[in-house]
């Protein structure tokens, strides 16, 4: 049933008893053309585009827990595309363009909110780095503008722009099309869209092995719900990428770290945009429900525990309260963690592997939510065609053999 105001009214009149399941939950079949491992936003988007654009509908998405329960369901939802390197900007911009039409495309309100993402500069070096981004983005056709401190204040009045504070704000880059989206809705919307196009979405189905044929090519997967055959397997397992890839004997250039986030109690609107400071490590926005959504840092060590230390929250809130002195009296409502798989160059890995039929999409680290539609789109193409999509090509795994890294970390870019 289409989602529309009219249908909401109609259903309201019949006590909402007519809404169907948003996605089917079939038993797994014995075989699929493509199996996607991981029911996060990226995996579901991949399946959606396979079915909707590439005519590959005999697809299963296997999720070990519940849809969107990985990082898709626990991120701070910052969307932007003003990355430094051409390759990155192109990929994230591709995603941002898709975000703009996503609610309509999926007929599911993902609440894409182009409220503007502001990245603060606190010192001369920041200014140089950020202005370099602005210039690079202009050429790449990605919007990104430089703001003076007064313009910063006008855009986000609760920021403290006094020149006398420890790390004064000396300017900022603003991407107006950047913003946020409703994280859960993205997973659900793609799931509904994919399911409607014939994709099987199978939750509580953990992949425990990857089957290879005599030639070494992928033959299928083992799961907690039995074996499933497939000649193409796409691994989109975020925090668990190394674990799943190890099932096919593929080592990855990844480390998995806990990344924490937290929200305040909800309050009436106090902040109209997203603000990030890489220098003092603070990221904040306000959700449509009213909570202040705050990104913390990663804990120092590899872990699959989805929890982290208290000192991380302390440091984050020190920085937040310094930038936004009015929030000091707000209270933390909930603090959680996700598992992020981080590459040496802080750029994702998308593409083919040495194992025929095995595709991988991972390494989005602390900043892959914004890429969800673009990532799914290029990955679907890559799987369907058996060769990398143009935008995905630079992000192939073999860049770690040639040394052709896309080093967003080195360029002091901000994740999230």
């Amino acid at each position: 049933m289409r989602f529309s105001f009219l249908n909401v009214v109609r259903q309201a009149l019949s006590n909402n008893e007519g809404w169907p399941e948003q996605w089917a939950s079939p038993e797994p079949k014995a075989a699929y053309d493509v199996v996607i491992v991981g029911g996060g936003g990226h995996g579901l988007a991949t399946a959606y585009y396979l079915a909707s654009q590439l005519g590959v509908a005999n697809v299963a998405v296997l999720e070990k827990g519940w849809l969107g329960g990985g990082n898709t369901g626990r991120n701070t939802t910052i969307l932007r595309s003003n990355y430094l390197w051409e390759e990155s900007a192109a990929l994230y911009e591709h995603a941002l363009k898709l975000w703009e039409g996503l609610s309509a495309e999926l007929n599911y309100n993902v609440m894409y909110s182009a409220r503007g993402v502001m990245m603060l500069a606190h010192n001369v070096h920041d200014v140089q780095v950020i202005r370099r981004h602005v210039h690079a983005n202009r050429l790449a056709g990605v919007d990104n503008a430089w703001l003076t401190p007064d313009e910063v204040k006008a855009f986000c009045p609760i920021l403290n722009i006094s020149p006398d504070i420890r790390y004064p704000i000396v300017g900022a880059a603003l991407q107006r099309r950047g913003g946020t989206a409703r994280h859960d809705a993205v997973a659900w919307g793609y799931a509904r869209g994919a399911s409607a196009r014939g994709v099987d979405i199978i939750q509580n189905c953990e992949v425990t092995g990857i089957r290879r044929d005599a030639a070494g090519a992928v033959a299928g997967v083992e799961t907690t719900r039995g074996p499933i055959a497939a000649r193409k397997v796409g691994v989109v397992a975020a925090g668990h990428s190394s674990v799943v890839m190890a099932m096919a004997g593929v080592r990855m250039p990844l480390d998995s770290y806990p990344l924490q986030a937290l929200v305040s109690e909800p309050v009436k609107p106090m902040m109209p945009c997203v603000v990030m400071s890489n220098t003092i490590h603070a990221y904040m926005s306000q959700s449509d429900k009213g909570e202040m959504v705050i990104g913390a840092g990663t804990d120092a060590y590899n872990s699959y525990s989805q929890t982290g230390g208290l000192h991380i929250a302390n440091h984050t809130l020190e920085a937040i309260c310094e930038l936004f002195p009015a929030v000091r009296r707000l209270r933390m409502l909930r603090n959680w963690g996700g598992i992020v798989d981080v590459t040496p160059d802080r750029s994702p890995i998308i593409g083919l592997t040495a194992v025929p039929g095995l595709y991988v999409n991972c390494g989005w680290g602390t900043g892959g939510f914004k890429a969800t539609p673009g990532s799914g789109h290029v990955f679907a193409h890559t799987i369907a065609r058996g060769e990398p999509h143009r935008l995905a090509a630079p992000f192939a795994l073999d860049r770690f053999r040639s040394g052709r890294l896309i080093d967003e970390a080195a360029a002091a870019a901000v994740a999230h």
Binding site: P20, N109, A326, P344
Partner: protein
């Protein structure tokens, strides 16, 4: 206004101290010891808030921190406004100003309540299904311009504070042998036992007064004394023990790895008014060897239609209002319960003269000692009860219920007490990664075997009897002390009388509510989640409890589902026709109750936010009006404007002065490392790209350090002081990183080498003296050194004396001029600087800052790591590959240079750029392109890394990284900026004195 609902009694009150306060502008009276909630109830105020979505009028449901409805804003002077406080936790103080939230124009008449009439439209997840079109306005246009602003304004609870918070916060680490969380019966027994064992004990309780459920206990005796006397005596004994600390108003909000427990302590408001320098809250980061969890249990509401009407509250809470605060919650009450404990409330209320119209028990039978006592007290008890309707909107007027005997009836009442049983507070246990086990008999999740060194005791362990809770607490306290290495005394019998067992409980919604899509039966009060919302979620495929939570938002409000989660779970299980353990719980996350951001941030604000590092010469520069720039934590003098000068003029003057005469530059922030040991030279050979083995004692070399991946990481000058001793300098920002990289290789890779590293960054104040008159400037002060060119050529280092104190003098230059860097002990830095400055002035010299330093080096084409480089730049890119020790078999980063990318042709190379118009200064970061109007989306050839007006050259200069740049010298390229493209000619990166003659002057 009179306190019409105040009755005698109330152990928490000090009736000698009346208090006045206002709520929504109306003045009321209460007593010291009241909470805002108890005082409002005493004054007959029933509507205290509006719900989140439907704006339904809401009253107080509970007497504790689990309160979902009574959220208020409280103000105390400018900047001291806090939204979303639970009235049940706000201690009443004189002059307190509280306001209700989420209503307009007033609490009684709230326009938003229209949404209640349209409720069917606003079912679970409705917003995902609408607010999208029309699309002809552009994708997302309507959401962005119309819907989202409306949604945002409607959402949120209290108004946000706007002024900076003037209060202080403090933060401490702490350690103890045994931390006891909760000072109820079980916690007190545990603390006493642990204390008697000699352990260091910390006992914390989130409430203002310790005692937990004992505070409201009127009937039981413990060890022969009335429970409250026992409480007082026990507290007194614990308070007197040197090894016990009692922290009240202190919640344990989070349990982290290895018994690292976060405690947040609120200081009472009167104390803060008396002494405003006190912190408002303290964060205790407690590392406890052993933890005893005695956090009690939370009473569960019943789910029935309109169960959210003001006047409907939890039974035990009504009892607390009566016994702690002398407040009766109504004149005529009906009790609806599935648990014996509500009978206690009924009995106490009846004794206080409240008419108890009926106790309606949901169970088939009510025959335990408490029901019997109720009957004996003349209270009518009926069983097999079910609630069908509530009359009254702003407050309950009557309840329609069916029960046996009596059948369906309508009972007038002004309060309804409900109890669905008790949910053990397992939050902290679960945060510590303990697994919960569902106890079907008790219909509760209880702690399984602990993972951390923890024990649960009392109601949080589903041990509900008072005697059993005390015994369990005692045992847990002893065991904890023993595990912490103490020898506990024998177990103690703690006899209890007058506390008959209480049992029962129900979960979820009764059958007649399940499936009734008209019933507004609330599961989560604050977030307005009804039974039908849970049903709808599951109908739409959101079956996992995590999906139910996120789709309906049940359990996501500020109470984090303390009242609702178990009911939601049971409803989900019923709808899915499966068992509760099959459905499972959502994750317990910190904080247990919301904790102020300020408490986490602690004292880290303003100057304490982060150390500002200042050089020994800083004060002098500040006095001279220098502008400073932040480089990492350092404050560096940026330029020294004279009267009326802007940055540009000052930098031009400083630059000219250095080239013509002499300038002094504070280089103290440069990292310095002393590398000592037999293998020091060999170690540097391996760490740096350059060769060091043959560097003579007394000579310096420019060192380039690569990452193992082959890119330039840091640079600096390295001087050999002795065969086995080097003075290594690093960039300001790179100091820590370089030392860490060196230690890493030294300790874990090159373990065959005998070398020791010591940071000497702050040992030395470093004064760079640069310019043709540099020698003249330093000569009068330097002893024991022959400064002549022959004896002390460029790139040399000598230890001697300056101004009579030991000095390490290096002849080096980052300006292209004759230059020295004089290192003296930091304690002497300022005085030596002053002496040199006085001398420099005689030669027309000046002080210069980092900006001029940058210009001077750019004129020479010297790179700055972090400006010309960004971690992706090789030495070859910079034209610095001459520095590589070609004969060396290995050094960090060498092997990577053979990988395809670093070795690739056509990489970006460092070049100079000269604009056609010499007055135009290019923008740093601007992209370099081959054409003036490159199409959007085309690749840049590179970017401008540095760009300045050069006073020396009387024109602008720029450095850039450009693809294949060295082959393009002479070519015209364009720097693209927002204002358009600027043409510039590619040159070699050195603009001034390319032969370096001046260096050797």
């Amino acid at each position: 206004m009179s306190q019409a609902f105040r009755v005698p009694g109330g152990v928490a009150l000090d009736r000698a101290r009346p208090i006045s306060f206002t709520f929504d502008g109306v003045a009321y009276a209460g007593y010291e010891g009241d909470t805002l909630a108890s005082a409002l109830l005493a004054n007959g105020v029933r509507i205290v808030g509006r719900s989140y979505k439907y704006h339904r009028p809401r009253g107080i449901v509970s007497a504790g921190p689990e309160e979902p409805n009574a959220l208020v804003g409280v103000a105390r002077g400018p900047g001291r406004f806090t939204p979303n406080l639970r009235a049940t936790e706000v201690e009443l103080t004189d002059g307190l100003v509280a306001t209700s939230q989420n209503r307009w124009p007033s609490l009684r008449f709230d326009i938003g309540a229209i949404s209640d009439l349209l409720a069917p439209l606003f079912g679970a997840g409705f917003y995902y299904k609408t607010f999208m079109g029309p699309n002809w306005l552009g994708p997302n246009w309507a959401w962005k311009r119309v819907y989202e602003p409306v949604v945002r304004r409607a959402a949120g609870l209290g108004t946000a504070p706007t002024a900076p918070d003037p209060d202080r916060y403090a933060r401490y680490f702490d350690h103890c042998d045994v931390l006891v969380v909760g000072a109820g019966a079980a916690g007190l027994a545990a603390a006493r036992a642990a204390a008697d064992s000699g352990a260091d004990v910390v006992l914390c309780d989130e409430a203002a007064a310790p005692g937990g459920s004992l505070l409201a206990e009127t009937r039981a005796t413990i060890e022969g004394r009335p429970a409250r006397d026992w409480l007082a005596e026990t507290l007194q004994a614990l308070g007197a023990a040197a090894n016990v600390r009692i922290l009240t108003r202190t919640q344990a909000f989070g349990c982290y790895a290895q018994n690292f427990v976060g405690l947040s302590e609120r200081l009472p408001e009167p104390a803060l008014i008396a002494d405003p320098t006190l912190p408002r809250e303290r964060l205790w980061q407690m590392r406890a060897r052993e933890v005893v969890l005695a956090a009690g249990a939370i009473e569960r509401p019943l789910v029935f239609a309109d169960n959210d009407r003001p006047g409907i509250l939890l039974a035990e809470s009504a009892r607390r209002y009566l016994n702690l605060y002398g407040v009766k919650v109504g004149e005529r009450v009906v009790v609806v319960t599935a648990h014996d404990s509500a009978y206690r409330a009924a009995l106490d209320l009846a004794s206080a003269g409240v008419a108890v119209a009926l106790i309606a028990d949901l169970r088939d039978e009510a025959s335990g000692p408490l029901p019997q006592a109720a009957r004996a007290a003349g209270i009518e008890v009926a069983v097999k009860a079910s609630v069908h309707a509530i009359r009254g909107r702003g407050r309950i007027e009557a309840v329609r219920l069916a029960a046996h005997p009596g059948g369906m009836r309508t009972l007038a009442c002004d309060a309804l007490l409900m109890s669905g049983g008790w949910t053990p507070s397992v939050h902290l246990f679960s945060q510590a990664r303990g697994k919960l086990a569902f106890d079907a008999g008790l219909e509760a999740f209880r702690p399984g075997p602990p993972v951390a060194r923890q024990r649960s005791a009392g109601a949080c362990n589903a041990t509900f009897g008072l005697q059993e809770a005390l015994a369990e607490g005692d045992a847990a306290g002893r065991a904890a002390a023993e595990a912490a290495g103490r020898s506990p005394p024998d177990p103690r019998a703690i006899p209890v009388e007058g506390a008959p067992p209480a049992a029962g409980g129900t979960l979820g919604a009764p059958l007649h509510v399940l499936g009734d899509r008209h019933a507004r039966a609330f599961v989560d009060f604050q977030n307005d989640v009804c039974v039908k919302d849970v049903e709808l979620a599951i109908q739409e495929g959101y079956r996992s409890i995590e999906h139910v939570k996120r789709y309906t938002t049940t359990g996501m409000a500020t109470d984090q589902g303390k009242l609702s989660n178990m009911n939601a779970l049971a409803i989900a299980a019923a709808v899915r026709r499966t068992s509760i353990p099959e459905v499972g719980l959502t994750t317990f996350r910190p904080p247990y109750m919301p904790v102020t951001f300020g408490a986490f941030a602690g004292p880290a604000r303003d100057d304490l936010f982060d150390p500002a590092r200042r050089t020994p010469i800083h004060a002098w520069a500040a006095e001279r009006g220098a502008a400073f720039e932040d480089v990492g934590q350092w404050k560096r003098a940026w330029y020294f404007p004279r009267r009326g000068e802007g940055m540009r003029a000052a930098v031009a003057r400083e630059g000219r002065t250095v080239r013509a005469g002499v300038g002094l530059f504070d280089a103290s922030t440069l990292g310095k490392i002393e590398v000592v040991g037999r293998d020091a030279a060999l170690f540097l050979e391996r760490m740096y790209a350059n060769a060091f083995k043959k560097l003579e004692v007394g000579r310096c070399r420019y060192g380039l350090m690569l990452t193992e991946t082959g890119y330039l990481m840091d640079d600096g000058v390295i001087g050999r002081l002795a065969p086995d001793r080097f003075h290594v300098t690093t960039t300001t920002g790179g100091a820590a990183r370089v030392l860490a990289q060196m230690e890493d290789y030294l300790q874990t890779e090159f373990t065959d080498l005998e070398v020791w590293l010591t940071s000497t960054t702050e040992q030395w104040a470093t004064i760079a003296v640069q310019g043709p008159r540099a020698r003249d400037t330093i000569a009068p002060f330097v002893e024991g050194l022959d400064l002549s060119n022959a004896a002390f050529p460029h790139m040399s280092v000598r230890d001697g004396k300056a101004c009579g104190v030991p000095a390490r003098v290096m002849r080096v230059s980052f300006s292209g001029e004759l230059g020295y860097e004089i290192n003296v002990g930091s304690a002497y830095g300022l005085d030596v600087w002053k002496a040199l400055f006085a001398e420099a002035e005689k030669h027309g010299g000046c002080a210069y800052g980092t900006e001029t330093m940058h210009v001077l080096r750019a004129e020479k084409g010297y790179v700055i790591v972090g400006q010309e480089t960004d971690g992706t730049v090789t030495l070859a890119d910079l034209g610095l590959d001459w520095a590589i020790g070609k004969a060396k078999a290995d050094f960090v980063g060498k092997r990577s240079l053979r990988l395809a990318e670093p070795a690739r042709e056509g990489r970006k190379q460092l070049v100079g750029l000269l604009t056609e118009d010499p007055t135009v200064v290019l923008e740093e970061g601007a992209q370099v392109t081959a054409t003036a109007t490159p199409p959007t989306g085309s690749s840049a050839l590179g970017h401008i890394t540095s760009s300045y007006p050069s006073a020396t050259l009387g024109r602008s200069i720029a450095l850039a990284l450009v693809a294949g740049g060295r082959a393009r010298v002479g070519e015209k390229l364009f720097a693209s900026t927002a204002a358009g493209a600027v043409a510039a000619i590619v040159t070699a990166p050195c603009f001034f004195d390319p032969d370096g003659k001046r260096l050797h002057g």
